[in-house]
Symmetry: C2
Subunit: 418 residues, 2 copies
């Protein structure tokens, strides 16, 4: 029976294990996924970056815009190329293709357009001050993408192959689109998998497409006066225990827009999503959320929500903040991953113990939070020189130094540019 | 403040009202949506079916397959035409186009592919035994589509215009694809709206596409031996209070596939989704769920989950079952919309009081349920001649008679065929 032999929390994992096991090429780690067990000659091909084919765009056809211009319109400006890899249930992953960026053709009955069979990742490529082009911990994005893909019933793959494909796209488009003449700039990388099977009916898609784009994205980490958060309306919940809040699936985003738009019309940047009657703080918009406060006992603490109930995303930036703060700030700040409520934040503020707050994620990087509106209360959060808290700035520079090559660190993965 | 002047439950509605109010053409009901209030000459066009343009496919290019062949592959077979209507935030709804069925072109950065900004409807067109072609209560689908559209931050429209477009598609494709020589057959109609703005970033799309297809869909209402349900794993919840379980948005479907596939691998047709520690019965797969039981006091009751907590879809079939049972079976069966738990169902079964159960929805129509597996228990549900319960069959024939014109009824809307 379902509930007898293992904790209930393991069931999602179990279903994913089943799914991985059902894909022999992945389960046994073979580079060539011949499935000999069923006695047929059929083979289910695994995702294989070494097979990548390259069809180049005319390199003179498009000029690289400056960053501000590229981010000012209603359309994301992508680089010259994208990578696409088709998958279907009977043959597995097709040959990965690096090809000119352009539209996708989908039948109106495609699964993704009706049933949200879709997931994605977000990471950035950074042109370092030392001239090198780096990704930041892309292995974590690739592994999370596999987890999201399985949660939404899309096909499994070896995350190492996805990482290679991301590097391959940057190897080709990096030199032109992140030129050495623009140190300190970045591009946004968006791998995604969508269900493409043209069949209506609620079922796991038998065809899918993995694609990767690279594009400009505005700098969101320095809003004037800091980010202002509004807690969610009481009748709207972002994620719930037993749901999929921890997965980077489209289904976590579209439904959040209504509340986010309401908040923006009131002058706030993002929703601070609370959970349950207790009002546990979970995420700020689509970013993780941190506060720095002094406990009643006088201990300075960096506090963020835990991952164990699977309500929130296991952010790469979140992980890095936690790890670096533990390594480098242990003498000053205790790092605490625990459930905490908005009432605790309000009380800390009233008692003068609230020190800083920030959102952490790939899009918003480390973004200082200056205000939280919750029902009748406005919590105002100190900012040094109106710009950021002290620890926020410290942590931001730790990570930024790795991203842009001011320090050499294993988290900064250098792209071998063509 | 958010929570002071109205019940918390109203906030979602409030946000939707705001959104409708922000679209002057819809809010004031004008056929031509000139927005004169801001002093500019700009106009936001409303959805207007009267502007429909028609580009016909070659009528001889495709033959109409028989129903079984059409439903046997991995691809939905659509009719010759589809309807598409583009929208953007600055100009509103473009001219609706009836045109040959074919692929859609979407940029890889399109909102729908990442953030699940998508919603849909499902209804059928029925070729009557009297020769007429009918839709069943399409006004309810059109209104629900508006609700879903707003919940997922897509553009508003007048539901009456959507209904006209659905009728227009059937007026053109009905005569060929649902010929009078095939009374008792149907086509499945799928209106959908998707966010098409090619911009990454979590925001309400500024461009969208409404499209309508008509296709074959297999008959799902007579599975051999009845539908077998498995309750959801304890760590997976379909919808939750404060979420969007009542809206027909993609985000309700993709995340449900993992549990559904697990159940299918165990030989079950659908998940019976329970809610909360009490185990309230909510939906069967993507259908509403009904049981017929005898109360301890001996009263025969038709029981289904209520709509008020917004966990479940306000199904057109569900509504029709409730309404017809109240009108026509009042002497025999009491209709009860209330929260009820799986334990109540198990107890009723053990005490010999469980009479029937069925799923109700457009895809599965009225589908008899013969078994529910819940943890250690198998609940077996009586079926007359192994096919259906008595009341299940009665209610099914009430509705079927309206759909196929055996009786004339205002719910059967006749298509004026070309």
């Amino acid at each position: 029976m379902l509930s007898q032999n293992r904790p209930a929390e393991d069931l999602t994992e179990t279903a994913m294990e089943h799914k991985i096991a059902a894909q022999p090429a992945l389960a046994n780690g073979k580079a060539n996924g011949t499935n000999g067990t069923n006695g047929t000659a059929s083979s289910i091909a695994p995702l294989d970056a070494s097979k990548l084919t390259i069809q180049r765009a005319d390199p003179t056809a498009r000029e690289v815009p400056d960053e501000v211009a590229a981010c000012s319109g209603n359309e994301t400006i992508c680089t010259d190329h994208m990578i696409t890899v088709a998958w279907n249930a009977s043959t597995g992953w097709a040959t990965p293709e690096l090809r000119p960026y352009g539209p996708l053709s989908l039948m109106p009955t495609a699964s993704v357009l009706h049933y949200a069979t879709e997931c994605f990742e977000g990471l950035k490529a950074y042109r370092g001050h030392d001239g090198a082009l780096r990704l930041f911990r892309p292995d974590l994005n690739a592994r999370r993408m596999l987890m999201s893909t399985l949660r939404i019933s899309l096909p499994a793959f070896d995350p190492a192959e996805l990482e290679k494909l991301i590097l391959a796209l940057m190897a080709v488009d990096g030199p032109k689109w992140l030129p050495r003449s623009r140190p300190g700039s970045y591009l946004y990388l968006r791998p995604a998998v969508i269900g493409t099977q043209p069949q209506l009916g609620v079922q796991a898609p038998k065809a899918a497409l993995l694609f990767i784009t690279a594009s400009f994205m505005p700098r969101l980490d320095v809003p004037a006066g800091g980010m202002r958060l509004h807690t969610n309306p009481e009748d709207m919940v972002r994620a719930w225990v037993g749901g999929f809040g921890y997965a980077k699936v489209g289904a976590n985003y579209g439904p959040s827009l209504l509340a986010t738009n309401e908040a923006r019309q009131r002058g706030f940047g993002q929703i601070l999503w609370l959970y349950g009657p207790e009002g546990f703080c979970t995420e700020a918009g689509a970013s993780n959320f941190f506060v720095v406060w002094r406990s009643r006992e006088g201990q300075l603490q960096l506090v963020t929500a835990p991952l164990d109930d699977k309500l929130i995303l296991d952010g790469v930036t979140r992980r890095s903040v936690v790890q670096l703060a533990k390594e480098r700030l242990a003498d000053e700040v205790e790092v605490v991953e625990r459930k905490y409520t908005i009432d605790e934040v309000v009380e800390a503020s009233k008692e003068g113990r609230l020190v800083e707050a920030f959102a952490a994620g790939t899009a918003f990087f480390i973004c200082p939070v200056s205000q939280i509106r919750h029902r009748d209360h406005d919590v105002h959060i100190p900012m040094v020189k109106g710009e950021s808290g002290l620890y926020t700035a410290k942590i931001k520079s730790f990570i930024s130094d790795i991203m842009y090559g001011n320090v050499q660190h294993p988290w900064g993965v250098v792209v071998d540019e063509q």
